[in-house]
């Protein structure tokens, strides 16, 4: 193949490795993991607020790791990676979100209330 004659190390996907960015993503990820953990352990806020913090941290880490580690940008080499990744986000959200919604209504409608709030099966 024609590419085999060239030096594979000159390929843009090899050349885009960047130590500084990798380390930056690493540090940010650790901070974003530790911060919500700290908040959760403290229990200073309501659980719903904390849930939002956790979701926000996960989203932020997705963006940081996606950009600095996987280099999901719109450059010519990476455009298809980014496009397919973005295509899959709604699919994942639909799978999890619609399932959760469906079962939330199903649980409220098909579980017998007295059994649902009992403190477990004691007998």
């Amino acid at each position: 193949m024609s590419t085999e004659c060239q030096d594979p190390l000159q390929h843009p996907q090899v050349q885009m490795a960047h130590g500084g960015q990798y380390i930056a993503a690493y540090v940010f990820s650790l901070i974003l993991s530790a911060l919500p953990l700290f908040l959760v352990q403290e229990h200073g806020y309501s659980d719903t607020h904390l849930l939002f913090v956790v979701i926000a941290a996960a989203a932020a880490m997705t963006i940081i790791q996606g950009y600095f580690w996987l280099r999901l940008d719109v450059s010519r080499t990476q455009a298809w990676f980014t496009a397919s990744f973005i295509l899959f986000i709604p699919l994942v959200v639909l799978t999890i979100g619609l399932t959760a919604w469906m079962f939330a209504t199903l649980y409220t409608r098909t579980m017998i209330p007295t059994l649902m709030h009992a403190p477990g099966f004691t007998h």
């Binding site: 409608r109 098909t110 017998i112 007295t114 059994l115 099966f121």
Partner: protein, 357 residues
């Protein structure tokens, strides 16, 4: 029916006679076919002849949907057939224009028409979902309000199901009858909790009275269905679903499971009898005098895998209080009624199961 008299055969085998005979034979088939079709239309098409208010709403929705979609299908199919005829290669009179490959007007129309139709149908779909929602205590009453009316009334202002206040309790004309349904492998247990009686494979209901069902399964998933009275609802082990119906005419209807549940599934039918209130009351009295009582341990015997080949009905009185909840609870704790290997998919040792003949 002299033209298809089988004795009218003189033994000649001339060609012309043969052709005639073939036609006669075919003509003989016509009344048979007609009888087949009309006979079915009279009796068999249960969905065409709903006998309950909820089923009637569902049937009206069907008619509406078929009418609207049928119109679209006729237009589209008509276009295809007309174009095929007009632009067939043999037709010299037609114009041939290979450059006609896009047109903004047509594009807008072909996206617009389906959009409008789907929008229109979606609107009715949402309405009918709420109108037939088995959990809505008002659904039955509203269906009764609409009963007897045609399409216009079914979807009139008065009965707009989207504005139903599901929380507010309706003032019931008649007190609804509560029935708890437990399916086993492969029988139906109908418990009347307030009357404390139970039947197996027979459901008796008073006419013109709302009947509210709680349903669960002791084993696998089934589907509660009485085509002439009410649509389907899943019956799931460890969960409790609800259904409600009201019957507008006395009679005996067929009910069965509509979701495959194993080897005895085909025999898993029950009789749904709709009686006048007086007869229903006397039936309850008779039931309450039954000698056999239904406790949980008795239920466990009942729930062993059984095929009811002869549609035999059993009757119980003195049903243990809270039996339904107890069955659900036990299933949630992990109770199963395993099917023996010989009654599932085993090809070598078939049919080792309790048969009621």
């Amino acid at each position: 029916m002299s033209d298809c008299d089988p004795y009218n055969n003189d033994g000649t085998l001339a060609g012309g006679y043969m052709a005639e005979r073939r036609w006669e034979r075919a003509r003989g088939l016509v009344p048979v076919l007609a009888a087949m079709l009309s006979g079915c239309a009279q009796k068999g098409f249960w969905l065409f002849h709903p006998k309950g208010a909820v089923a009637r709403t569902e049937w009206h929705t069907t008619i509406l949907d078929v009418a609207v979609m049928g119109g679209v299908i006729l237009v589209a199919g008509g276009l295809v057939v007309a174009f095929l005829w007009r632009y067939r290669a043999g037709n010299r009179a037609r114009t041939y224009d290979p450059h006609f490959t896009s047109s903004l007007v047509i594009e807008v129309l072909v996206w617009g028409i389906p959009l409008v139709v789907v929008g229109y149908l979606s609107y009715f779909s949402v309405k009918s979902v709420f109108a037939t929602n088995p959990y809505n205590p008002l659904a039955v009453r509203q269906a009764v309000d609409r009963a007897g009316g045609g399409l216009r009334e079914a979807y009139g202002e008065r009965a707009d199901p989207t504005v139903v206040d599901a929380m507010g309790a309706p003032p019931p004309a008649t007190r609804p009858l509560q029935v708890e349904v437990v399916t086993t492998d492969w029988q139906w247990v109908f418990i009347y909790p307030h009357q404390r009686v139970a039947t197996v494979n027979e459901l008796v209901m008073p006419v013109h009275t709302p009947v509210e069902f709680d349903l669960t399964s002791a084993t696998v998933v089934n589907d509660f269905f009485i085509p002439e009275l009410v649509g389907e609802i899943d019956i799931m082990p460890g969960m409790r679903t609800k259904q409600a119906l009201i019957a507008s005419r006395t009679g005996t209807y067929h009910g069965y499971s509509d979701d495959y549940s194993g080897g005895g599934f085909s025999w898993m039918g029950f009789r749904a009898r709709v009686e006048s209130p007086q007869r229903f009351r006397s039936w309850i009295k008779k039931m309450q005098a039954q000698p056999v009582h239904l406790s949980y341990s008795r239920f466990r015997q009942l729930a062993r895998p059984t095929i009811n080949l002869s549609e035999r009905i059993s009757r119980f009185s003195q049903v243990q209080a809270g039996l339904f909840d107890h069955v659900v609870e036990r299933v949630m704790e992990g109770r199963v009624y395993p099917t023996p290997l010989a009654m599932t998919e085993n090809m070598t040792k078939p049919m080792k199961v309790r048969l009621i003949k």
